[in-house]
Each structure stands twice: as structure tokens, then as C-alpha cells.
Amino acid sequence: MSGRAADRRDVGRQRVSAVAAAVLLAFLVIVGQLWYLQVLEGGHFLDASDKNRIRIRPVAAPRGLLYDRHGVPLVDNRPAFTLSLIPRELPRDEQTRDAVLGRVAALLRIPYQELSEAIARVPADSFLPVRVRRGLSLEDMARIEEWKLELPGVIVEVEPQRTYPSSRFAAHLLGYVREASDEQLRHGRYRRGDMVGQTGLERLLDEYLRGRDGGERIEVDALGRPVRVIQHTDPHPGAQVVTTIDRRIQEAAEQAMEGRPGAVVVMDPRSGDVLAMVSTPAFDIDQFTGTIERSAWLRLVQDPDHPLLNRVIQSQYAPGSIFKIVVAAAGLQEGTLAPGDRVHCDGEFRLGTWTFKDWKEEGHGTVDTRGALAHSCNIFFYQAGLRIGGAAITRYARAFGFGQPTAIDLGSEKFGLVPGPRARRRGSSGWQAGDIVNMAIGQGQVLVTPIQVARFMSAVANGGVLWKPRLVQRVERADRALLWSDPGQVTGHVELAPAVWAFLRESLWAAVNDGGTGAGARIPGLDVAGKTGTAQTIAKSRADRGQDHAWFAAFAPARAPEVVVVVLVERGGKGGQVAAPVARKILNAIFFEKVAAVGLAG
């Protein structure tokens, strides 16, 4: 081999080594990158891979049920279909995604905007389902399932949803359940899409009723198809609530009020238990369980009849002649009025330059205290009131709980009003005779709520015990373990001589059964005692004139009262003509339809 050839060979070897060196260098760079990815940043990428494969699917806890005092459910849950979108699984390409949303909108006949707005609120790579629309019909659900393959990221979830015996059943008492509002989300206690009790008992007891959502950690493949369940946490169903309501009485009371605006309270005077609570007009409570249309919501809020208002606790009215019981109690106890006091009523009463009229133009003739209560004679009470005095009347009114909230377990209760002596004219001390005269028949500035009247009437029936109105007996877990209970609470006591109590009860019995104003509530075979009231209102318009609020407050049986029924019909007219018959229907249902109902059930 020549030297030159050997040289060439050496050069060749060097060149091969050069290439080999370059290759080895490249290997080192790759090893460096692997070190960075796997060792330095490995933990970060491990998290990312878990996030890739694990989805958390919430499983909604069924909301706890509310029962009446006999264990009859007031609400129930049923599986309902909810349309949800999973942002991450929607098509990535904007045009295709819009096409998918457009198709969903067309299939369900809902505004496209609703879908796009819901999606815009959450990050585009989120795996959590965004609940877009609740309460899909079976047909809607079928339509979506039919197109399933062309609708990636669109799912129909099954959630437990409230269902009610009838669409307006105890709407104000139960309250509605609705998706957490933006305001509630800001407080951080709820997650988007949570169903939250917004009013009534649903709101009061939300913490107990909501339960705890369960969830599933699901491993999915790249197409989002579930591969296996890694972890399953059962939802904890909400606690059940035993209320004091009697569903049968509640239904009877709602039926009796049908078509009349106003309020009914049925209370057990022996315990303060609220057996029924009705406010009319009511709203369609089941309208809220699905997705309520904005227009329907606005219609409710702007309705001049205020269907969302719970008139039992949130509306205050002049008590009218019902207040005469307070005046009589004050006078009799203080000795400024005697059962035998007589007044001749000719329909008019003059005080200085003022003339006060009786509701009965020709007058009642000569009446004693019993007759004045039974026939609701204004002239008698004008004079009695002046004798008794404003201070004593208001003192007794407060003792009977007027002017103070009843502390019933529902929020936003109105206080009512018992005026003070100087409430009217500044600078002059003491009671003005005109004010006293007005107050003596429950007009003027005195304001009461129906629930206050029920508490007051219960005290008359039970001999002076003021009960806090009780709505909830107990809250218990699904396994019956007691979580909370309300043993009942006495908030005050009115001390009157036994003879005075007996006299009042007898007079109220006479109002119904001895030719008094409450004759409309008379039921053969049942001793009903009661007092009518007609609260004058300021006419809203000419046509409206004379449409007074009609009151009737009753208890029965008169000798050993078991129930108090308070009826208020807004702008209904005279208490005796309008409210008393409503009370009669309710009392009739309570005492005489009970057997029939039990018989049917048996």
C-alpha cells in the first residue's frame, strides 16, 4: 500500500470520527432535553397528564323533602333532564362549533344566544359541564339523543328536580328553588349551576335540604369517552323536614281562597303550629324548577297583583273591627268598661265638629258590650275607646303582639304598627280624641299582618299565651337522625282575669251564632267564635271606591279551641259577607271532611 493511500485512509478515518462526534453531540443534546422534561419538569407534566385523563362529573344530591305534620309529602323529586355543554369537547373550530350550537338551538327552539352566552362565561378548555337549560321535555331529550353523534360536547344530564302536588301549591310557604344567582355566586358558597332555595322554607332550610353532591372521577380517553370510574362518591341526600302544615287544610284553604287576592292563616292555638298559610294570588312554583324565561320572570315581578309577595307576613293592613277585641279586653281588665255598659247607637257619634258614623246607617239601637262586639257597633266603641284611653289600648295591643314581628321562621316579615300618643301632631303631648276614636275601631294608623292577627286570635282562644308561629317541627337525616327541632316557643303572656277571657270568647261566639256580623261562618254542629273586620282603604281610583279589605278571625270549637282561622280578602268588601264564608269553608273542611278523607284513604 502506498504512503499516499495510507494518508488518504487516515483522512478518511478522521472524517468518520468527525461525523461520529457530531452524532454523539446531538445525542447529548437530546439527553439534556429529556432531563429537562422528565426530571426537572416531570411533576408538572404528570399533573398535566392527570388533567388530561381525569374528568370530574358531579352527581347532584337529591334535595331533601318537606312533609306535612302527618308525614304526607308537600314536595317530591323526580328525575329531570338538563341540557349541558362541555366546553372542551365542543368542536375546536369556531364555525363548526357555532353550527353545533345552532343545531341545538333549532332542535329545542331556544334562542341561540342563550347557548353562546353560557359558553362564553366559562373557559374554553373546561371539562365541567355547563348547565344551559333545565327541565327538558322527553321529546327534547329524544331529539338531542337522536343527533348525538353530530353534537359533540352536548350532553343531557339527569338531575333530581322538585315537583309539586299542584303548580301553585303552598307557593309562598315552600318557596321556589332556582339556580344560584350571580349575586349568590359572588358570596362564594355556591357553584355555578347549583340549585338554591330562594324563598320560603326552601331558603330558610337550604343548608339542610341541599345535601352534599357526590361525584365521579372518571378516566376518559382522548375522545372524552369514559374508560373507567376511578372513584365514586355517593351524593348525600338532603335532610327531610317535617313541617307543622296540614296538607289537607292547606289545600282546603287554597281552594276556599280561589280567585280572591288575600291571605289565610290556620293556626293551632295550643302550640302556635301553623297548619296552613295561603297568600293569593300565588305564582306557579313549578315554573321555576326548569329554566324560567326572562319574560315570564319580568311578568311576575311587574304584575300589579304582586304574586311573589307573601301577604301573610309581608303585607300590613288596618285590622278594622277585629281590633275591637283588644279595646274591649283593655277596658274590661282596667275597669273602664263593664260587660253591662249600654250605649244607644243611632248611627252617628259627634266629637267636637267631627261626626263619626257607624257602618250601619240606621244604628244598632241600644247595645251592651257583648252586643257591641257581636254586632261590631262602632258608636259603642268610639265612646268606650275615649273612656279607656289611648295609652291603655296601645299597651294591650302591644301585649297582644301587635307592632312586633312574630319571629316566624320566614324572612322579611313586616312589623305592623301600633301608634304612640304623639305620633300624629308634633308639639302637643297626649292622645288626640280623634285618633283614639279611629283606633278604637281599628282604623287610622294601626297596621297588622295576618300572621299577627293569627297569633293574637290564638291568645284570645288559649287564654293569653303568645306563641311564636311554628312552621318546622324537626329536620332529620335520611336515616331519621334528628338534626334540628323546634319545641315551640312562648314569646309573651297576656294577663287578663278569667272572667274577661270567658266574656270575650262568649261575645265572639255570639258574633257567629247569635245574630252577629259573623253569621256567615256559622256551621251547624260546631261552635265557631269569630270577629269580622272591614278595613277601609284609600281608594286607588273612583271605580275602586268602597272596596275595603275584608277580615274574619275565628277559632273553634269555642269552648276548647283547636284551630284559629284568619282570613283576609283584599278589597273584598265587608268582612262578614266575604271573609266569614271563606273561613266557614275552611273550618268545615277541617272538622267535617277529615273523616271522609280518612275513609277514602282507608
Partner: protein, 363 residues
């Protein structure tokens, strides 16, 4: 049958054969844990069949004297070009690329087989008697030899294979002893050609390069592969997640996981340590190849061995480099590991060339 000198058998390089067989086995084991294909089955058995066929092809290539192969290079190169043209005319299109040609029941990738013909052709030119010494004029003859197939392959389009011709040619020029200063001209030429090449690229190829430069450009689109591969590799950490825990791979987050991205699967399963072992295996194989080149008894053998080694090295480095996010994504399989018959066959045949040189080292 091809007659084999008894002495040749004494010089059979068992390390090469064993290394290749070992890598093919690792490939089959990795593939056995991936459910791919329409029925969700595994392709591991098919890969083993291809490895066996490849080993046979390796023996066949090794038994032929490499000098005869180089002499036949113009013919092989011509056949290769014909194959590339045929694929453009009558090829089967799979996911937008026309790379496969149906031959009976099989589909072959002419561009894969062409790589070997190309390698022999360049060697043929560089060692041709008339071409010595290697002047600029001679080197200019290389331009059409590289350029024509480059354009044909890029038209398929198969950017990866086309680009592979560049480092291969470069390595052969270095090995042939072309002076460094003359080689220095080539990068300059490359820079000059870059804008032209950019315009010649398909839209998706440009997008891949842009995504490589800026991965968050489109996290659910083009960058998806890159991000998912990084997650797979990174989440393997030091020791790997094992076969069962390799969720990225098994749950199919990783696209092309049985072909171009198989390294990411391996990295997720076996971690940094496993990667080191695998890369060491490749490095060992390549170093043996360079050793064979360095100790070849003639320039022809040296260049053939260097070319075969460089071909494998370039594929390994570009594939792993792209999977670990160091290079833009171009479609290049990982020799011996990626699923695919053509790739396995060609990689084995490249080893066959090395064996051929090795066995005739002392002839």
C-alpha cells in the same frame, strides 16, 4: 443461491444483528400495550413479522459484495426514481399524503427504499474514477442527483424523508474527504435556498414549523401533537409510569403513538432511565457502524458504511429530536421502533450494508 465465502462468516457482526433484533423486540413489546387500529387490537405480531422479514433482507444484502451494489447504483437509483414517479401517479393517498404504492397485497413506500438506492448512488459518484479529485464541477453533478428525488418526495408530500437526503449527502461529502472550506459553502447555499423552500412548502408544513417556534399558537390544533408528546414524556419522570400507568399513550391522547411518536410512549412507560438505556442502545449500534466505516478496507466500503450509519443516525436524531420538542414535527419514523414494514425493512437493509462491509474488511 448467492455463494458465501466461509471466511466471511467468521466476521459476521453479531452485535449489529443482536442489537437490531433487540430493538425490534422492544418495539413489539411497546406496541403490544397500545390498542390501535380499527378493532382496537395490537399490531405487535405484525411488527415482529416485519422484523423477521427485515432480518432476512439484511442477510441477503450482507451476502452481496457492497462493491457490486455500488456498481449497480445507477440502475438501482433509476428504479428508485421510477418508483417515486409511480407513487405520484398511481400512489395511494393516506391522510393527505401520497406515499404508498400497492404491490399485490402489500403497500410499500418507495421513498423508504429509495433512500438506500440514493445512498449507493452518491457513493458511486464520489468514488468514480473520473470524478477524482473531487472538484467543484464534480460536486455540481450531485445537484441533480439530490435535487430531482428531493422535489419528487416533497411533492408527495413527505418533508421528512426529503430533508433526510440532506444530512446523508453531507455526511458522505465529509467522509469522502472534500475539503472543509469547500463544504463551508453548503450552509451558505442552504440559507439562500430557505425562502424558496418556504414557498414550496404546503400550508400545514409551514404551520408545523411556526408551531414549533411558538407552541401555544394553537393548543388544540397543530400544536396538539407536540404538547401531548411533551406531557407524555415529561410525566414519565425519572423511572416511568410502567405499562399500566402510561395513560397518555394507552388512552390515546398521543397521536401517531405507534408510528412517529412511539418514543414518547416508551418515555412515558420507562422514564428518563429507560430513555437513557434505549438511546445508549442506539448509540452503541451507531458507534459500531462508524467503527466499521473507519476500519473499512477501501474508500467504497468506508463511504457505504458511513452512509448507512449516517442514514440511521439522522433518522434517529430527527425523530427523537422532534418528539422531545427540539425540532419541528416532520414525518420520520424511528428506526426499528416505529410500526411500519417499509421502515423496518430499510433499517435492516442498512445494517445489511454495514455487515457486508464488515465481513469483507480483511478480504
Amino acid at each position: 443461491m448467492i455463494g458465501i465465502d466461509r471466511r466471511l462468516l467468521l466476521n459476521v457482526d453479531w452485535l449489529l444483528i443482536g442489537g437490531a433484533a433487540g430493538l425490534a423486540l422492544v418495539s413489539a413489546l411497546t406496541l403490544a400495550n397500545l390498542h390501535v387500529g380499527r378493532a382496537g387490537g395490537t399490531v405487535a405480531p405484525r411488527q415482529l413479522v416485519w422484523a423477521a422479514v427485515g432480518l432476512l433482507a439484511m442477510v441477503v444484502v450482507a451476502s452481496v459484495d457492497y462493491r457490486r451494489l455500488v456498481r449497480a447504483a445507477p440502475l438501482l437509483y433509476g428504479l428508485g426514481l421510477a418508483g417515486l414517479v409511480a407513487v405520484l401517479v398511481a400512489g395511494r393517498t393516506v391522510s393527505g399524503a401520497r406515499r404508498w404504492l400497492a404491490v399485490g397485497p402489500l403497500t410499500v413506500q418507495p421513498s423508504e427504499l429509495f433512500k438506500l438506492a440514493f445512498l449507493l448512488m452518491v457513493v458511486w459518484l464520489l468514488v468514480a474514477r473520473w470524478a477524482q479529485p473531487l472538484t467543484a464541477g464534480v460536486l455540481a453533478c450531485l445537484a441533480p442527483i439530490v435535487g430531482v428525488p428531493f422535489v419528487l418526495i416533497i411533492r408527495q408530500p413527505d418533508l421528512g424523508t426529503a430533508l433526510l437526503l440532506v444530512p446523508l449527502t453531507l455526511a458522505l461529502l465529509v467522509g469522502a474527504g472534500v475539503p472543509w472550506r469547500r463544504l463551508a459553502v453548503l450552509p451558505a447555499l442552504g440559507v439562500a435556498a430557505a425562502p424558496v423552500a418556504w414557498l414550496a412548502l404546503k400550508e400545514y408544513q409551514r404551520e408545523r414549523i411556526l408551531v414549533f417556534l411558538d407552541p401555544v399558537r394553537d393548543p388544540l390544533g397543530s400544536a396538539y401533537n407536540v404538547i401531548q408528546a411533551k406531557i407524555a414524556i415529561g410525566s414519565g419522570q425519572l423511572l416511568g409510569k410502567g405499562v399500566a400507568g402510561a395513560t397518555q399513550s394507552r388512552l390515546a391522547f398521543l397521536p401517531e403513538r405507534h408510528t412517529d411518536f412511539i418514543f414518547a410512549v416508551f418515555a412515558e412507560m420507562w422514564g428518563f432511565v429507560g430513555c437513557l438505556v434505549l438511546l445508549a442502545g442506539y448509540a452503541l449500534l451507531l458507534l459500531r457502524g462508524f467503527d466499521i466505516a473507519a476500519s473499512a478496507r477501501d474508500p467504497v466500503g468506508r463511504l457505504v458504511a458511513l452512509g448507512a450509519t449516517s442514514l440511521l443516525a439522522a433518522q434517529i436524531l430527527i425523530n427523537v429530536g422532534m418528539v422531545v420538542g427540539l425540532l419541528p414535527v416532520v414525518g420520520i419514523p424511528l428506526p426499528f421502533m416505529s410500526y411500519g414494514g417499509s421502515s423496518m425493512l430499510v433499517s435492516m437493509m442498512a445494517l445489511g450494508l454495514l455487515l457486508s462491509v464488515r465481513m469483507r474488511q480483511f478480504q
